[in-house]
Amino acid sequence: MRKHLGPTYVPVLIVAASIVLVSLLPLTNFQVRMATLLFIFSVVVLGKNLLMGYAGQISLGHGAFFGLGGYVVAVGAARYGLSPWLLTAGSLPIAGIVAWIIGRPILKLRGYHLAMATLAFGSIFAMFLTNAVDLTGGPDGLALDMASVRLFGMTSRWSWYWVCGLVLVVVMYLLASVLDSPTGREMRAIHDSETAAGVLGIDVAKAKLHAFVISAIFATLAGCCFVMFDRYITPHSAGILRSIEFVTMTVVGGLGSPIGSIVGAAIFVVLPQFLTVFHEYEQAILGLILIVILVLLPKGIVPSIAARLRPRRA
């Protein structure tokens, strides 16, 4: 029987082991690409899970942070010739500061109001990306020069697999650590009762802000990885539909479950590749699958299945 409902490092080990094991398989470039994308999106979803699943704050604006990372790197490298790696390092504190500034007023809101406010923020940012054509290339996007993203002569098709896999494992470790710490308990507490947390001496606003900033930085980091990996970015990657997709990944995989986050990301990265056989009905089937998952596994895939596997006792 599990002693804690709380977090452990087991998922980190499982994921690290899987990354290594998968690399032993004879994968095609395409499969390696899918795996890499899965790692990248998982990083965003893990952050969202911290914010939504643990701290209980909905955000429909994380596409903006993903885009922030992506565009800082893309614009900096394509327009000003800076190194993407430096830009990545620089964009994380920028994202942290941005999240801090907008988070302070916004996080006073709750539930759907918070969702709306973050949606508003995300939409405004996406509008900017679409319309500032001279800077961002507008709706058609911005390309990154191949040479600029080479590091230590990284060229093999596996290199990004390893880089993004490493990022994923590190992020998972950080997440597991923070959850198994006073800060993590703080966040989980405000999810259930801000009032009670307050009279126990927890600065609710700060705890929310911590969760928000961490998840924003994770999303930004993922955005940086994404643009370096793809060497192309369009506002689509930062739009509100993306944000909504991130929320969907988080919920479908399972709120409060790190492995669930990866499963959720996989649903959206990998599943559509299989659905192409349905041609025009692709989208309808994806919708249907979402509905079926939530009807049969209402708590999200991983937590619902885990609950079924738990032993019966009297």
Partner: protein, 291 residues
């Protein structure tokens, strides 16, 4: 002066459409605590089905409209009965995602079956526009505004006077308590979904002559309607209506006076400012939360 009047007319035209979406949202929200992302799809289905009924099948307008409403209401009911009602232990956010699934499903089916072209519908009035002084008013806009007003009045009365209206609030506030009073949750919430779908379908049918509808109309409308509902607050029946109208007006004035590129941003910035002052929306009833 005419410019301002013209902008007001424009804003109200668009705003009335948003208001209808917002009202539909609120109805379901009140009964089940979830925001139905597929609300825009009700709208789309109403408009698409009626339009295609008229254009491709040569049905008379009223028949096509009636059929469109019937199909949309069936979809709304199915969404509740086979989706939301089955996912028993899910939380509102999980149900929100379920409605996103429903929205994808509706959009996917509509694009595959009804096609991806935009559809049209004839105006309800024999003439196109009215010119009052220098101001141009689309007659169909008057129909929409009138329709919205009617729907909202009926709903407002229903929600605040009829016992069923109170049962709706009761179910959302405390499902267990409501069940213990003998309120049939499934029946009442089904009613809300059906009504909400009906409002959506009617809205779609009324608005299509102006907006032209295609399979992907729903998402953007849902977001605008959501904005309206949040801006006005969901506490009072007229809150979402005024919120929707306000979004329309802000967009019109933004486009007219500030920048048409960032006009949508204006509405959102105003929303953020409103939230700073009234975290529950403008027309929400204010009270100290009891602990």
């Amino acid at each position: 002066m005419t410019t301002i009047l013209q902008l007001i007319v424009s804003g109200l035209t668009v705003g009335a459409i948003y208001a209808l979406v917002a009202v539909g949202f609120t109805l379901i929200y009140r009964a089940s605590g979830i925001f139905n992302f597929a609300q825009g799809e009700f709208f789309m289905l109403g408009g698409m089905l009626a339009g295609i009924g008229v254009a491709s099948y040569g049905l008379p307008y009223p028949v096509a409209a009636l059929l469109a409403c019937a199909i949309t209401v069936t979809f709304g009911l199915a969404l509740f009965l086979f989706g939301i009602n089955q996912a028993r232990s899910a939380s509102p956010i999980q149900l929100l995602i379920l409605t996103i699934g429903a929205s994808l499903l509706a959009r996917g089916l509509a694009s595959a079956i009804l096609g991806k072209d935009f559809v049209r519908l004839p105006q309800l009035m024999p003439w196109d526009v009215w010119r009052v002084g220098g101001v141009v008013i689309q007659t169909q806009a008057l129909v929409i505004i009138l329709g919205a007003f009617l729907i909202v009045s009926v709903m407002g009365f229903f929600l605040s006077r009829a016992l069923t209206g109170k049962a709706i609030v009761a179910i959302a506030a405390n499902t267990v308590g409501a069940q213990l009073m003998g309120i049939n949750r499934v029946a009442v919430v089904s009613l809300c979904f059906a009504l909400s779908a009906l409002i959506g379908a009617l809205g779609g049918i009324l608005a299509t002559p102006i907006t032209l509808t295609s399979y992907d109309t729903g998402v953007m409308l849902a977001i605008k309607g959501f904005t309206g509902a949040m801006l006005g607050g969901t506490g009072k029946p007229y809150g979402p209506v005024l919120g929707g109208l306000l979004v329309g007006l802000l967009e019109a004035f933004g486009a007219g006076f500030i920048s048409s590129v960032y006009k949508d941003a204006l509405a959102l910035v105003v929303l953020l400012l409103v939230f700073a002052l009234f975290p529950q929306g403008i027309f929400a009833s204010r009270s100290v939360e009891r602990v």
